[in-house]
Every structure is written in structure tokens, then in C-alpha cells.
């Protein structure tokens, strides 16, 4: 026989403040405020340094949450109302898809700006190059990646490596800005 009277009521009593068992201790009166303060703070940053890890969906396709669930007889998933967009790297790195190109780096002339050989650069051609932008430029029909310097009417290309020389145009030389570098994709693990 099932007795439905008495016993523990689910959810009754004082709400739990910490996610672990607690213990009563004696503390000096003068320290009560300080200790309570400490406990409250500790509560809010229980994960300290890496508090912000968000799941990344490494997909090459734009993610669009779809309500394409199967119709099933049974308890509906309580999570369905919370479906939200996951992180999409395309959306994050590319603002104008039609004018964005990926190029590969083949020199160390921008090393001090964090661009090394075999890094991949996200280049957007729809952006207007501004002073100190890193750009892909054409000098005498050769591609180069450098920092664009605009000083009044004078434009030159700065190398970010003391072993490499800057590019100042000689007479008759022409510089065409091919695109503006927006991101560097740099692998931190060796690829096979």
C-alpha cells in the first residue's frame, strides 16, 4: 500500500545556495561581513578563467535553425523552445561573401604582425583600404602582402619584419590594392 501522507515534500525548505554540502562553523564577529562577501563572490565566479567557453559548430555551411522535427507521439523535447543559432565561423569571419577571397602566405615579410608562411588570409575586396590596413597589393603585377601607409598623398607599403625592406614606389611604378586582409587563419597544430 502506498501511503501518500507525511514524509519529504519535494522542493520544500530553504533553497540551496551552493552546489555542495555545507557545514556550520564558528567565525569571529568582526570577520562575518568579509567572509559572507567572499562567499558571495566565489559563488559568482566558480569557473574563474575559462568561464566563457561557447560551443563552436565547425561547419562550412551557414547554420539556420530549422524546426524540422519529426512528428512523434510522446513527450515533446523541452529543449525545442531554446534552439538558437550556434556559432558560425562563416558569419563571424566574412561580412561580404561575394567579395571575400582566401589567399595563402608565402613570405615572412609580415612576421611581426603575426603572419607567417602558409597562414591563410581572409581578404575582402569590398573594403576601402585605410591607413595601416594590411593589404594584398599588386606592384608590377606581382602580389604582395604588406601594411598600407597613407601619409597625405603619399602611399607606401610597410614590411613587418626588420629583415625585409618596405616598398616605396619608384617613378612609373604603380600600386593596385587588390584587397584588404581582415583575418589570419593560423594553425597552431602541425598539419599532417
Amino acid at each position: 500500500m502506498n501511503n501518500k501522507r507525511g514524509g519529504i515534500r519535494e522542493g520544500a525548505g530553504r533553497k540551496q545556495k551552493y552546489n555542495e554540502p555545507t557545514k556550520t562553523v564558528r567565525v569571529p564577529l568582526s570577520k562575518v561581513v568579509e567572509i559572507k562577501d567572499y562567499l558571495n563572490k566565489a559563488d559568482s565566479q566558480c569557473f574563474n578563467d575559462v568561464a566563457l567557453i561557447t560551443p563552436v559548430q565547425p561547419s562550412t555551411y551557414m547554420q539556420i535553425p530549422l524546426a524540422a522535427e519529426k512528428i512523434a507521439a510522446g513527450f515533446p523535447s523541452p529543449a525545442q523552445d531554446y534552439v538558437d543559432k550556434t556559432l558560425d565561423m562563416n558569419e563571424h569571419l566574412i561580412s561580404n561573401e561575394a567579395t571575400t577571397f582566401i589567399v595563402k602566405v608565402a613570405s615572412l615579410s609580415m612576421r611581426d604582425a603575426g603572419i607567417e608562411i602558409d597562414d591563410e588570409l581572409v581578404v575582402d575586396r569590398s573594403l576601402e583600404a585605410k591607413h595601416e590596413d594590411i593589404v594584398i597589393a599588386l606592384i608590377d603585377n606581382d602580389f604582395t602582402v604588406k601594411r598600407l601607409m597613407i601619409e597625405g598623398d603619399y602611399r607606401w607599403l610597410k614590411a613587418e619584419n626588420s629583415d625585409c625592406s618596405d616598398i616605396h614606389l619608384r617613378d612609373g611604378q604603380e600600386m593596385v590594392i587588390w584587397g584588404v586582409v581582415t583575418y589570419v587563419i593560423k594553425p597552431f597544430r602541425k598539419r599532417k
Partner: protein, 431 residues
Amino acid sequence: MAYTNKIFALVDINNCYVSCERIFNPGLNNKPVIVLSNNDGCAVARSQEAKDLGIKMGVPLFQIKDIVEQHKVQVLSSNYALYAEMSRRFMKVLSKFVTPEEQEVYSIDECFLDLTAYTKKYDLTDYAQTIRQRIFTWLGLPVCIGLGRTKTEAKMANHIAKKNTYFNGVCNLVAMDFCAIESLYETIEVGEIWGVGRKHTKKLNSLNIYSVLDFVMASSFMIRDQFSIVMHRTLLELHGVSCIELEHTQAPRKQIVASRSFGQRIYHIDDLKEAMSLYVQDAVARLRGENMLCGYMIGFVQSNPFDTHRPYYSKSAALTLPEPTDNVLTLCKIAIKMIDDLYQKDVGFKKCGVILTCLEPKSSHIYDLFTDMKQTTADNNLMDSLEEIHHKFGKTKLAMGASMLPNRSWNMSRDQLSQNYFQWDQLLCVK
């Protein structure tokens, strides 16, 4: 037909294939460049410098060998993957200027825009210049834009903008003085009109109509009398009466052709079968991409028609399928059987191919009473799995016979192929 004042623009990429190559290989700038057709046969695209050297459209490479050597003409194989991607981006950038209903993708390098709604707000010549500038800075593609009251007129305006550099890439026939239009039309051959083909040009010439002006001045009764209603419509269009609307939905496909010529002559029946099975797989991929079933298949083989030493050999076979299908195994089997009939010893085959026709949508097909539905479902599952594998591991991992193995004797030759800059392993390198 209600007469409405409309304004159309035709945006067209100059020397499309060459321009696409130049974006990634600026060393080609200011040099004569040609792009060759499949198997590096004929010149299908020429830079302005190459046109100036007198290299004609469609001329076989061997006929211009001397010019190529003498003027150091840069010769490239066609890189269709690259051109298709640049074309997609071109259309996308254009789409930001108009609504989807106002844009018609006409070909890989041509796009019609209906700019009627923008007349009040902008000077359309300036607006077209803005479009032109943006395509050039954003994508590096040089374009010409023609503006007219009809699609035919816009096409004509585009032709004028291309041939006369003083227009600076934009020709607006709507805003142009009538006398100026007249003198331009006088210098253009009637065959340049959109929709007037070679056969019609001959007939028009026989009626003393040589220039576009002659055609525009011709009597519309005479044109309707002598030609079809289509030609009459073309005339009306050049008079500013818009008869041809923008098209958005493509007419459902009537047939799928997959055929390519070989890199060299083929004598062995097994090679022919291999090539045939590849083309069937290509055709079926397109068939399934459009969710269609095929009811009738034609297979054909040809020797080289330009070979003067041997008689030309060409034969085809056809079969009505007992049940419309999109199963690559069934179609491949039939195509390969066809080769047994089509093959002849000692013929140097240059080309073979397959035509799928009697197409119908898969979703609306009604299977007959005697169809083995169990088998059909199994076939479908197999095809789905095959496509899944192709999607995941690339097309060449799993295929029929030896057709996808590299370096087959019948493979197309593409010696001067540039990279596909839109693949991770073939990115553009910068120093």
C-alpha cells in the same frame, strides 16, 4: 500587348574567361591571352590584345600557332570551375542593386536588369557607371553596360559600349540623340542584333537589309510576311516596344547531354566503354540533381570529322527504358551494351556521349502495377548512399569501372590549366 515604358540594362563581363584568369594571375594583364575550349582545341575567349592580333573566335589552335609564337600569346586551358564561381559572385554583387524580380541571369557572363523603378531617383547612365565601378573594384571584373527600352535594345547598347571605348563602358540608348543612334546603327551589321542568326542574316541581306539601321527602317508588315513572328517581335523591340519580359524560372529541362571529345583518338572498345560510363555518370548526377527520371536514352560515337584521310564514322543507338529510372547502374549497363553495337574496328574514335530524354519529375511519376517496389526502394537507397559517399569523399572515390581513374588514354587534355583558387589546396599565394 500593353505598352509600358521600361528600361532594361544588360551587364556583360568583357572577355569573361580571360578576365577571370587575370584576377588571380595579374601577369596576364596587358598581354595577348587566349583561353582554349575542351581538349585545348579552339580559342573560345580572347583578350582585347589577342583580338587586335586578328585571332578570331573559335579558331583552332594549330591554325594560329605562328601568331601565338611570334607575339608570345598566353594560352590557357578553360578552367570552368573558376569561371562558374566568379560568375556566381558577379550575379550576387549585381543582385544588391535590384530586387530579385528585376534580375535575370542570362548566361555565365551576362545579366539583364530591369531598372525602370530607378528612373526617377537616379540618372541611369550614372547609376550604370556606379554598378560598373563596383563590379570592377569588388571583383576585379571589367564590364560593359547597355541601357535600352527593351531587352533587344539593351543588348544592342551593350554591343555599342563594347566596340566604342569613348562610351567608357556604358551606352545609354534611352538618353541618346536620335541622330546619334542612327549613325551608330548604320555602322553595325544586322547579324549583331539579338535573335538574328546567320540564316536570317543571309535572307535579310538578300532583301537589301545590311545594317541595323536598314532593319529598323524596314516595314513591319514585310518583316512579318517574310519571317516569323519572332523576327517581327525583334523589330518591335528595336522600336522600343518591350515584348520580351525578364525570365526567372527556367523552363523544365527536356534533355540532358553528356559528351566530350577525347584527348586522342581511341581504337579500343574497352576505352570507349570506360569513357561512355563516365559520361553516363555525369548525366545521371545532373538528372538526379533535378529530381528527374529518364525514359529514353541515346548513345552515340563519332570519329574526327576534320580528318581528311579517313572516312567520317558516326553512329547512334537508342532505347526506350521499360521503366523511367535514375539508376546509374541500369543506365550504365545499357550504355555499355550500346557500345558493342556502335563500335567498329579500326575506326579512330574522337567523341562519344549520351543523351537522356523523355524526362519527367520523379515526384509525380506513377509506377505501374507490375513494378517491383521493393527493388525500386533498394535502388534508391543505393543511389542515395553513392551520392553520400561522393559528397563526403569526392567524386573519384567510388565509381563505375575504371572511369574515374587518372590518366586514362581518352581523358581530355588540359595542359595549360590554371589552379582553382577556390579550393583549399590550390589557394592563391602571396609574398
